[in-house]
Amino acid sequence: FPTARKMDPEETMHLAQAYLNQFYSLEIEGSHLVQSKNRTLIDGKIREMQAFFGLAVTGQLDSNTLAIMTTPRCGVPDVGQ
């Protein structure tokens, strides 16, 4: 993951989607959805991840959530192996 340097919103969303794909099976569940529904799914996955890590469950990519997403970790998914 890119280090904690300042990222622009698009880059942030790209990082978050890669993280949620890998550890919260976003891609598998969202591949058939239209754009608007996909956005809802992403918010839901962000909430799921925030709840798992004990963060404030906002559905938003706040700094705490991004900090967790850029921490070295295990490659096994957190949900639905």
Partner: protein
Amino acid sequence: YGYTLPGWRRHNLTYRIVNYTPDMSRADVDEAIRNGLEVWSRVTPLTFTKTSRGIADIMIAFRTRVHGRCPRYFDGPLGVLGHAFPPGLGLGGDTHFDEDENWTKDGAGFNLFLVAAHEFGHALGLSHSNDQTALMFPNYVSLDPNKYPLSQDDINGIQSIYGSLPKASAKPKGPTVPHACDPDLTFDAVTTLRREVMFFKGRHVWRIYYDITDVEFELISSFWPLLPTDIQAAYENPKDKILVFKDDNFWMIRGYAVLPDYPKSIHTLGFPRHVKKIDAAVCDHSLRKTYFFVGIWCWRFDEATQTMDKGYPRRVVKYFPGIGLRVDAAFQYKGFFYFFRGSKQFEYDPKAKNITRMMKTNTWFQC
């Protein structure tokens, strides 16, 4: 914690290290992997046997990016450090580490023992825990690798799949946690360690410091996960190391790290084959001679030449008059020897060659 069932049906599992990272010596990788598995065998009926060829239950490899038939990939430095697959045939149990990381034993980089212990949790059937103190928490946390890394959450999780230790080797009947002020307290072994004195009993150890009164009480495994419980003797040698004995094996420890290539046989110290275990050991630092107590006999070992002195063993009752036939534990402190037998303790002046005080074993605990 989370887990996937049914886990491994057999409890005696095999593992194979398919390749090695260039970041560490092979011996250090072997030790990190062995210790990472030992973390789980300590609290379950599981046993792990290393094989060096063919297919093992847990195949361990260092890989990068997209690798072989593995459905997951690595992402270069940082990010994902490793992954493993739940119990099963083929890929089941296999464990991969990202070779693009800097693997280490005790320095900068990612501690291989800690990451391996986590990944083996997956290889045994655990999934991630959201308990931030758990080893199975997804993110890397650089814990003290000398402390036993499992939290109660991890232990509850793995024992949900495999149960706890088999009854036979479970804790002995009666009180499982010894009490410092028990008037009948006996010790397995006692040793100094730099400015501390450590009193071993079963799975636990009390620590006191020369110049402060409070007493710490810990699990032996929280310092040295590799040491067995119920050790039988221990002493500090003149080279800032302690030797710990159980049955016909001994371990050498520097600070809080068990040195690699241990345990070794006590017969490498010069004991004859008929000696199967050591009851107690104490080093006289003024003479650089170590006394080993074996039943009613006392051997003397020259720390400088690393050989047994001639003319030994001698009978304890003659060589250390007054302390009786046998010794449970012993240590040296400010020039005196302290011998423990049953719930009694004898302070002995090696120069005057006589007992100067008799006390209860736990006088050191401010009871």
